[in-house]
Amino acid sequence: MSQQSNAPKGETLTEAPVRRRLRIGDAVFRDTTVAVSLGLIGLLGSILFVLLVAALPAFRAFGVWGFITSTSWNGVTDTYGALPFIYGTLMTSTFAIVLALPISVGLALLINEVKSGWIRNPLTVLIDLLAAIPSVVYGLWGIFIMAPFLNTYVEPALGATLGQIPVIGALFQPTPSAGNMFNAGIILAIMIIPIITAVSREVIAIVPRDLREAALAMGATRYETIKIAVLPYARSGIVGATMLGLGRALGETVAVAMLIGNGLGIQASLFAPAYTIPAVIANEFREATSVGLHRSALLALAVILVVISFFLAAVSRVLVGGSVAKTGKPEPLLDPAEGDVQ
């Protein structure tokens, strides 16, 4: 604001203090908001700094690469390695994404394509409610209702069918464990569907009408319109949505800790127990004292998790933001569908 600087020369003496007071009020208020906003940067910085410093002894003792690739997690010998937890975290999250992505994109398309508000609005609200359910309630339901059902009916059936196929059959070998990656992955999929759906819905909703109408005018069916006009345009946004869902799945703690069986082995079968980074932090922080490297190793796991999460969030934000920003400018009409036009 420049009004102060070009105030008229002939300003009376009585006016000046009032003006100055107002100006001070403005400056104080503005600086407060700036300081608080800087606090956000400070928060992010201190999360990274504190965790990194606390993890340093473990990284120094085992080496960063050594820590990541070691499978030993032993309090007695005070040797720690992250591989079983990284494996369990990545396997469950990947499985969850494989299940959740097609469902979420289908759902996002459904919400955009259905014209009648009395189906669309309740559907949107209900999907949002799914996102509001606390993760411990998912875990409770999962451990007492879903897991027994899956263990008794679904897993033997999958073992007898998909388990017989070479290569991918290895994922479906039966084990006696009630807690396993399959159950944890399914609960994660349910939990991230609303997130991927919400973001995908936004990027699909901003696909320009022209593109759809052009496809429809060429005689494309609804499926072809989606395939040649809608999805290519929304693709990067959907990838961003998936990364957001992946980040959520990687960081989920209690629901997974309740369902995954918390086993240190690295087994190919989804029906085998495993362990994740958040779950081991939640289960072992009480025993982790400053004697030895246990505490430092747990916080080193936290560093790995936070680096992956923040990286995914940053990439996702760039992809979704880019997708949204595109609508600001007029697009060449057939460009995104180019590859599909014969």
């Binding site: 100006r23 009020g25 403005d26 503005r30 908001t33 906003s37 800087l38 606090g39 956000l40 940067i41 928060l43 992010l44 999360i47 965790l51 469902i103 979420s104 289908g106 759902l107 398309l109 459904l110 559907l123 609200v125 209900l126 999907i127 799914l130 509001a132 359910i133 606390p134 993760s135 411990v136 309630v137 875990g139 409770l140 339901w141 007492f144 209702i145 349910i190 609303p194 069916t221 609804r222 499926y223 072809e224 957001l244 959520r248 990687l250 960081g251 209690v254 958040p278 932090i281 939640a282 922080f285 747990l298 936290a302 998790l305 936070v306 999460s309 923040f310 969030a313 940053a314 934000r317």
Partner: protein
């Protein structure tokens, strides 16, 4: 398209029929995804009420945690603990969140504001266990004790970016005409914000707070690492404190069957409060948007 151009494809009618069938199949798939996504919601709500209702009685709200083998007992210590920690976290995160949102909408320009917005977005995706581990490694280890205040700070780490983000969205809905009209009358900027912008966006900010509170009430992992839990009623913010989600988590994993029932009872309380807050927030924000647009 490959499916329309096979050499044996003589009549156009067949290919059009094929394409239409494919399209219809895809529509069927879309409807199926809607059903698949809603089944868990229905099942979760159904089972929480079916298993939990028998646990809901006066004792549930007035008694503290039962000793192993002792029947009855309740969750009063967890309900009070949750209210205390989320209350403190709200008192901290609302001013922080609203002020940073005000910076972003009223003052923020250029790359500095873009950086703040980016950082807020990244923080929004902080895994809750990380907020817990961060406060455990700082507040808890420095105080040499798990405590309600540490729990509240961990929740603040999660709630601050949520409030910043949703408040910013709602502040953007306040028409610039209002700001300009006030400024033109010679009202200083900070008074414009306090007297015009904030009241206009009031309902929206309240919505943002409701959503953040709902998130805070449901968090387990950060509370576990910072407040630890407590079988007894505790009102001292410097001591370990219980919370409803934490109690559910511990009871669900215990071998004592009677405690499972209490866990389901806790889930009803949590689910009803959190869903009521989410639905309430939604109704309020719909109304607000209709008013401002």
């Amino acid at each position: 398209m490959s499916d329309t151009a096979t050499p044996r494809d003589q009549g156009r009618a067949t290919s059009v029929g094929l394409r239409k069938a494919k399209s219809r199949m895809f529509e069927g798939f879309m409807w199926l995804t809607g059903i698949v996504a809603l089944v868990p919601l229905v099942l979760i709500v159904f089972y929480v009420f079916k298993e939990g209702l028998p646990a809901i009685n006066v004792d549930f709200f007035t008694q503290t945690a039962p000793a192993p083998g002792v029947p009855g007992g309740g969750m009063s210590q967890a309900i009070v603990g949750s209210a205390m920690m989320v209350g403190m976290a709200t008192l901290m995160s609302v001013p922080l969140g609203v002020l940073s949102a005000l910076y972003l909408t009223e003052y923020g320009r250029g790359s500095f504001a873009a950086t703040i917005r980016f950082v807020a977005e990244i923080l929004l995706s902080t895994p809750s266990i990380i907020a817990g581990a961060f406060i455990w490694a700082t507040v808890v280890l420095l105080m040499h004790s798990f405590s309600a205040i540490a729990g509240a700070i961990a929740l603040t780490v999660l709630m601050w970016p949520i409030i910043t983000r949703s408040t910013e969205e709602t502040l953007r809905l306040v028409p610039d005409d209002l700001r300009e009209a006030a400024l033109a009358l010679g009202v200083p900027r900070w008074k414009v914000i306090l007297a015009i912008v904030l009241p206009t966006a009031g309902a929206g900010i309240f919505t943002a707070v409701m959503l953040a509170v709902a998130r805070g009430l449901g968090e387990t992992a950060p509370i576990l690492l910072t407040a630890l839990g407590n079988d007894f009623m505790n009102l001292d913010p410097k001591l370990p404190t219980d919370a409803v989600p934490l109690r559910i988590y511990n009871y669900a994993q215990s071998p004592i069957v009677a405690w499972h029932q209490l866990a389901w009872g806790g889930a009803i309380v949590l689910l009803v409060v959190v869903l009521a807050l989410s639905i309430g927030a939604r109704i309020l924000s719909d109304r607000q948007q209709r008013r401002l647009r």
